[in-house]
């Protein structure tokens, strides 16, 4: 087990509004989310001595925005905006997923380097289409993909989902209940972009196809917005405003995959299983201990990757599990109880982390899983840069 299991906690959660295209700058939205997280914890800006994020804009192809405060908000810029540059002990910027920053922040607390770390993810929707390969040449890894139209992640995910359907005899109708129930969860989440817009199974089956079998409702919606978490020691967190969510342990994925296609289900399963093994070792827990699972769903097939890779279902049985409603809010294993990224908007895993925290602190309102003790959050696609966390109830 991790030597510091349960000694680091999340003490606050904050969101900015999540909008398709905000009239406010990304800097303004980031400040709002971070101030909200601080207020939630009962802390002020001056209490922060650690700041971490992964600031990169994940746009594929085209021009990646790099303008500070508009396209991205780096930890150095936020420190300066907050007027806390003078006493920051540590800042971290991790390329890849922001969840690596959460690991870094937790370690900074555990090491005694920082007292209060803020981990945030700010995402900006660029002009035009998010995914639009609008350059004449494909360089680097793109040269093997973009000439053939594989210039958008939904097409990569389609390769994984089509193969899953074909291997195990499923079709889109088998996903419809989960997708509609997931959107229903978002109706109970005040932060969710899709709150106020429930969908039916038929809506899913009739939704616009992006890359068959991936429809628009299999993809999370890019939003302008930010979510922030406050990390501190469990000891200090107990004196703050909210009940702490204890970080029981975490794991990171390392599997590169065979190459040739960015999302190969076989590699993703293997990567998720490796990550799961590390997580169970780090926490001393097993799938049977998990009361609610927040499984990354930037694309719907990733829910299957994690459901099966973490050991909740045998390989190929995850979609039958969802079809029967076992992953719904009142099911055996409530999944993405706040609507996940599909319901809340694209925040690159912050949704999963924040919801896990809300569940083990009894703060999930109408979507609360009664008595949830251990909540799992998994992020990304199972391959390298993926992470998994278990947050637990205090006491």
């Amino acid at each position: 087990m991790w030597a510091n299991s349960g000694k680091v906690a999340v003490a606050g959660v904050g969101y900015s509004p999540l909008e398709r295209r905000s009239a406010q700058s990304l800097a303004a939205l980031t400040v709002q989310a971070c101030d909200a997280a601080l207020a939630d914890a009962g802390l002020g800006r001056h209490d922060l001595d650690g700041v971490a994020t992964s600031p990169a804009m994940p746009r594929y192809g085209g021009k990646k925005g790099v303008d500070e405060g508009i396209d991205i908000v780096t930890p150095w810029y936020l420190s300066d905006l907050f007027g806390i540059s003078g006493h920051v002990a540590w800042t971290g910027s991790t390329n890849g997923m922001v969840t690596q920053s959460l690991i870094d922040g937790a370690l900074a607390i555990a090491a005694g380097l920082c007292r209060h770390v803020i981990v945030y993810r700010a995402l900006h929707v660029p002009d035009g289409r998010y995914v639009n390969f609008d350059t004449a040449h494909a360089v680097g890894g793109d040269q093997y993909l973009a000439p053939y139209g594989f210039n958008m992640p939904p097409a990569w995910a389609a390769i994984a989902l089509r193969r899953y359907f074909e291997l195990y005899g499923y079709e889109r109708a088998d996903f419809a209940r989960y997708i509609a129930d997931n959107r229903a969860n978002a109706q109970l989440n005040p932060n969710a972009f899709w709150r106020g817009k429930p969908i039916t199974a038929d809506d899913y089956l009739n939704s616009r196809m992006i890359a068959d079998p991936m429809s628009i409702l299999d993809c999370d919606i890019p939003v302008d917005g930010c979510c922030a978490l406050i990390l501190t020691s469990t000891e200090r967190a107990r004196d703050l405003r909210q009940r702490p969510a204890l970080l029981t342990g975490f794991a990171a994925g390392t599997r590169h995959g065979a190459g040739g296609t960015p999302m190969n289900m076989d590699d993703m399963w293997e990567g998720a299983r490796e990550t799961a093994g590390r997580l169970w070792t780090a926490t001393g827990l097993s799938p049977a201990d998990i009361d609610t699972a927040q499984l990354y769903d930037g694309f719907s097939p990733l829910v299957l990757t994690w459901l099966e890779g973490m050991g909740f279902c045998e390989q190929g049985e995850g979609l039958a599990f969802l079809r029967e409603g076992h992953g719904s809010l009142t099911g055996r294993l409530p999944i993405n109880t706040g609507g996940g990224a599909l319901g809340e908007g694209r925040l690159h895993g912050m949704t999963q982390l924040a919801e896990a925290v809300m569940q083990v602190t009894d703060r999930a309102g109408e979507r609360q899983v009664s008595g949830a003790h251990h909540a799992l959050a998994t992020i990304s696609n199972g391959l390298a840069k993926s992470t998994a966390f278990i947050f637990s109830r205090d006491g």
Partner: protein, 140 residues
């Protein structure tokens, strides 16, 4: 900044990929092979993922493969696809090694015939004097 695309994006070879694209121009499909452990790789890598060695070269392969998975696009993924719709985006597994995957387009293949493990074969398409795309076709 690069000019806006009106055609499909063209690969911009780099030192690692230049031999691969040069071979394609001669209508030969090559993958990278390791002299030490004979591991085959696509796309080309800096170091061998079989043995971590660095003595790698390009070896011509048969061009025979099976279908790993696919998606049929009815909207153009970039402007250059407008007159090629619907387009079949496919991932094929080369016969030389299990798990040796390559992203491509299937041409001259009816979408309703697609299934996992469908035998497919390479087809080269010269798109300019110095660039050849690697496609595959089923039912050969």
């Amino acid at each position: 900044m690069m000019a806006p695309a009106t055609e499909r994006p063209l690969p911009l070879p780099d030192p690692l990929s230049q031999p691969f694209w040069d071979a394609a121009r001669e209508h030969r499909l090559c993958v990278q092979a390791c002299r030490q452990c004979d591991h085959l790789a696509y796309p080309p890598e800096i170091a061998c993922r079989g043995c971590s060695g660095g003595d790698l070269y390009f070896r011509e392969v048969s061009g025979r493969a099976t279908l790993h998975s696919w998606t049929v696009l009815r909207d153009p993924p970039s402007p250059g696809f407008r007159d090629r719709l619907p387009v079949i985006l496919a991932v094929v597994e080369l016969e030389e090694r299990k798990g040796l995957l390559l992203s491509t387009n299937l041409i001259d293949t009816a979408p309703e015939t697609l299934r996992i493990d469908l035998p497919v074969e390479v087809r080269f398409e010269d798109v300019s004097d110095d660039c050849t795309f690697i496609h595959f076709a089923g039912g050969a």
